[in-house]
Structures are given as structure tokens and as C-alpha cells.
Amino acid sequence: MTTVRRAVGMVRMAAAMLAANAQAALEYRVAFASQVLAMLINDAVWLVFWLAYFGRFPLVHGWSRLDVVTMWAVVGSGIGLGATVAGNALRLAGMIASGQLDFYLAMPRPVLPHLLVSRMDLTAPGDMLFGVVVFGFMVHPGAGQWLLFATFSLTTAFIFVGFTVLAQSLAFWLGDAEGLAGQLWNALTSFSTYPTVIFHGPVKLLLFTVIPAGFIAYVPVRVIQRFAWGPFLAVVGFTVLIVTVAVAVFNAGLRRYESGNLLLTRD
């Protein structure tokens, strides 16, 4: 009962912070709208590239234009959702290194969720919008596929945030880990936005473990096109696993955290 109450409390906090972040963003609505639009166009340019590529080379190891469109839709909406709700995830290493966690340690809410939802990535709603629009207009899904799309957007968001927390938490042990965490994030997004079927052997293993692009891109695409319980449950199971590990690693790192006596307010 306590666990359920805590979970409900966290969801309420996330919703309240999301509303507050959205209101703050809308204070500068022209800048906000232009950033969302720019990200939407950025994603669209990538999609045009892939459409052009598959226009010239119709099949890559059995993957067609529809597979890549579905992949970009799921990855866009999932990562967009994660960065919209938990925009601080990508700043974690810098905050740890500069002693900016003090503010959150003094608050009654659990540190990690509170920290993550305190900021919204202003470009991320553009990714989310792109994913939904592309899925709706280019994949022509049925009701069941919409349900799967929504589910995988959620699992992708959790995997993305979990992975980012793990990478950024390296700062607890390494100090300045911003560069390394940034590179790991780049690797995840890169491997997630190219057809997974082009990778083989140890690299493919890597994509289902250390850099879990397979659970973000490959499996969801396959399940949306032909549903199977096994792969679906594998994605859900991996999501639970990576979030659990990320929380445990962050909490372990937090024990090593030293305050920098930095005077700060929530920015």
C-alpha cells in the first residue's frame, strides 16, 4: 500500500512539475515555439534522408521504408517524452560535479525523481510531436498499433532516462564525466536511429545490453508490425531492469556525493 501511495505521489509530483515547466516555457512562447518547430524540422530532415536512401536502395537486409519510418516514430516520441518530463537527466553529470544536488537533498521528495522532473528540455516536445504525426500519417496504424505505439513510447522514455542516469552517474566516481556521458548518449541515439539489422555478432549483443538501442528501436518495430508476447514482454522486462539498476547506481553514487557548499536556488 505504501509503495502504491509513493508511486502515486511521484506521478503527481511529475505532473505538477511538468505543468510548471510548461508554464515557464510558455512565458517565452515565441522562443519555445521556434525550438519545438526547429526540432520537428530537424527530425523531418532525417526522415527525408532515409526516404531518399530507401528510394535509391529499396531494401537493407529486409528492412524497408516503413520499418525505418516506424523506428523514427517510436524513437522520436519516446526520447521526446523522456526529455520533456525528465529534462534534467542530460545535465546530471554536470550537477553532480559542481555540487548542485544540495538543493534536492534538503527537500522531502526522493532525490532522483525530483531532480529529473525539475527541468523540461524545450526542444523535446518537437521530437514527441514528430513521432506521433509521422506514425499517424505514414504508418496508417490500426487501434492495436496505436496502443503498442503508446506503450513503446513509454518504455523507450524509461529506457532513455534510465540509461542517461546510469551514464551521467559516472560523475560520482569519475568527477568530470560530462564528455563521456555525452558520448554514450550519442551512441544510444545513433544506434537507435539506424536499422538494427545492419549490425551483427558482438555489436548486436552490445545493442541489447550495454547500449540498449535494440529495445528502443528493433524490437518495438517488429512487435508493432507483428505482435508477439515474447518480444513485447522482453521490452517491458528490460525497462523495469534498467530503471531499477539506474536507481540503485544513482543511490550508491549519492553516498559518495560531497557538497560543494554552493549557494543555489532551483533554476
Binding site: 517565452y28 515565441v30 522562443a31 521556434s34 525550438q35 518547430l37 526547429a38 526540432m39 524540422i41 530537424n42 530532415v45 527525408v48 534522408f49 531518399a52 536512401y53 528510394g55 535509391r56 536502395f57 531494401l59 537493407v60 537486409h61 564528455g179 563521456l180 555525452g182 558520448q183 550519442n186 551512441a187 545513433s190 544506434f191 539506424y194 536499422p195 539489422v197 545492419i198 549490425f199 551483427h200 555489436v203
Partner: protein, 273 residues
């Protein structure tokens, strides 16, 4: 009294001075620069796999005019150009927003010229780091190809001009900060135009005919495709035409900078502090 910037030679000397200082400052953090360039390894690896998978179903040479190894080496050069784009353009936004531009304007060097020197210094160093790193990866994933010394020299010369042209247009967009709160969105769109229409990921020859035609008609190819194609070509043929087109595109951009800068300066009001 504000000192005059001096004549063109003196001005060029100052720009080179800023360039040299930036290079020396960045050399102090060379390791960090190498780490930040490791993304290049991922991209080259991914594209090597993509082209390999494509080769299994299509004749690359017949479709694009490039062999698989040439495509990878082409990508090394375009990615080195793309990844060497400095992060300094955000500084213009910041300086305009915070009012720090007032201090820069008082210096004995025109504001755009200071940024040109700093941006070129950073870009040249990053480009060399990425080119060396990319060449190592290309050797590992695609093996060596015959690089004609004259073509490589032509590619490097045109890349240097491309850096200036690219900077001029990026700076013109950054100066829009005088009117907007944030120009990062416009910058991103410009980068994506260069990426897609400039042939960053694949040569224009590998695009479907409609996109290749559109890309060839637009000037973005002068920043990426032009120099990178020379890099893998057997002769430096076409260098003269490329340089002339780059200079023309750069001249239009310089005019845009002059107009936007003059108009923007009228909006600056320094109140001390």
C-alpha cells in the same frame, strides 16, 4: 578614445593573432577534444555497416560512382567538416542577450572579425583532430584507398574556404540574436540543410534523381560535397570552379553579415554597469 581597427593587412594580422591564441588555448585541452570527437567512430562504424548491408543487395559503384571504401573515406572528410563546426555561435547569442557585446564593441577589432579568428582557430584544430581520428577508423573498417596528393591538397584548400563561407552564413544567422531571444533553432535548421542538401552522410550522386537535382541547384554542396568529392577523386579537376562558386556564395554571405550587423548595432544601447 576607441582605437581604430587599422587597414586591411593590420586587420588580417589581428584575426590571425586571435586564431593563433584560440589554437593555443584549445591545445591545452586536446584530450577532451579527442574524447568529444569519438562520436565520429560510432558514425563511421554505423555507416560502414549500412553500406555493407546495402552492397549485399545493390551495386554501389554502378549506383553512386563510388566504391564502398571511397564512400567511407568521403564520409571521413564530410564528418570532419561537420564535427569541426565550433560551438562558438552560441556565444553571439549569449553576448547579445547579456549585453557583453558592449565590451567587445569597444575593442580595437571589429566584432565579427574577432569571432572569425576565434571560430577559424577552433575549427581548424577540430578538423585536423577529426580527420586523423576518422582516417584511423576508415583504415580499420574499410581499408586504404588511393588518395592522390594533388586531390587531397585541393580538398584541403577548398575545405579552408568552405570553413570561411560556412562561418559567414552561420554568423549572419547568429546576428539575428539582436531581434530574437535565441537563434539556436535557426542554426539547427541551417546545419540540417547543409547535412541533407550538402551531402554530409552520402554523396549527392547516391540520392534519388529529384533530391540530387535539388541539392545540386543549391549552394550547400559547396561546404561539404565539393571538398569531400575532391578528397577521394583521382584528379583535382573542378577545383577552380568550386573555389569560384564558394567565393561567390561567401561574398553574398558577407554582404548579409554587413547588412544584419549594421541594422543590429542600431538596437544596442549600452548603459554602463
Amino acid at each position: 578614445m576607441i582605437r581604430r581597427p587599422g587597414g586591411p593587412w593590420r586587420l588580417a594580422g589581428k584575426v590571425l593573432g586571435i586564431l593563433g591564441i584560440t589554437v593555443r588555448a584549445r591545445l591545452a585541452y586536446l584530450g577532451e577534444m579527442v574524447v568529444r570527437s569519438l562520436f565520429l567512430v560510432v558514425i563511421l562504424f554505423v555507416f560502414a555497416q549500412l553500406w555493407r548491408a546495402t552492397t549485399a543487395a545493390s551495386d554501389l559503384k554502378a549506383s553512386t560512382g563510388f566504391t564502398l571504401a571511397q564512400l567511407i573515406w568521403y564520409l571521413v572528410f564530410t564528418e570532419a567538416i561537420a564535427m569541426s563546426t565550433g560551438l562558438r555561435l552560441g556565444e553571439v547569442d549569449q553576448e547579445v542577450r547579456s549585453g557583453d557585446i558592449a565590451y567587445r564593441l569597444a575593442r580595437p577589432l571589429p566584432y565579427p572579425m574577432f569571432h572569425l579568428g576565434a571560430a577559424l582557430g577552433e575549427r581548424l584544430l577540430r578538423f585536423l583532430v577529426c580527420l586523423v581520428l576518422g582516417s584511423v577508423v576508415a583504415l580499420a573498417v574499410a581499408g586504404p584507398i588511393h588518395l592522390a596528393p594533388a586531390s587531397v591538397a585541393a580538398a584541403l584548400a577548398s575545405a579552408l574556404v568552405a570553413f570561411c563561407v560556412d562561418w559567414v552564413w552561420s554568423f549572419a544567422l547568429a546576428l539575428l540574436a539582436f531581434w530574437f531571444e535565441d537563434t539556436s533553432g535557426v542554426q539547427l535548421l541551417y546545419r540540417r540543410a547543409v547535412m541533407l542538401l550538402g551531402g554530409m552522410l552520402v554523396p549527392l550522386d547516391a540520392y534519388p534523381h529529384w533530391l540530387a537535382a535539388v541539392s545540386r541547384a543549391l549552394p550547400f554542396k559547396l561546404v561539404m560535397y565539393g571538398p569531400a568529392r575532391l578528397f577521394v577523386a583521382s584528379t583535382p579537376a573542378g577545383l577552380g570552379r568550386l573555389l569560384a562558386a564558394q567565393l561567390a556564395f561567401g561574398a553574398v554571405g558577407a554582404l548579409a553579415v554587413a547588412v544584419v550587423y549594421r541594422a543590429g548595432l542600431r538596437r544596442v544601447s549600452a548603459q554602463g554597469g
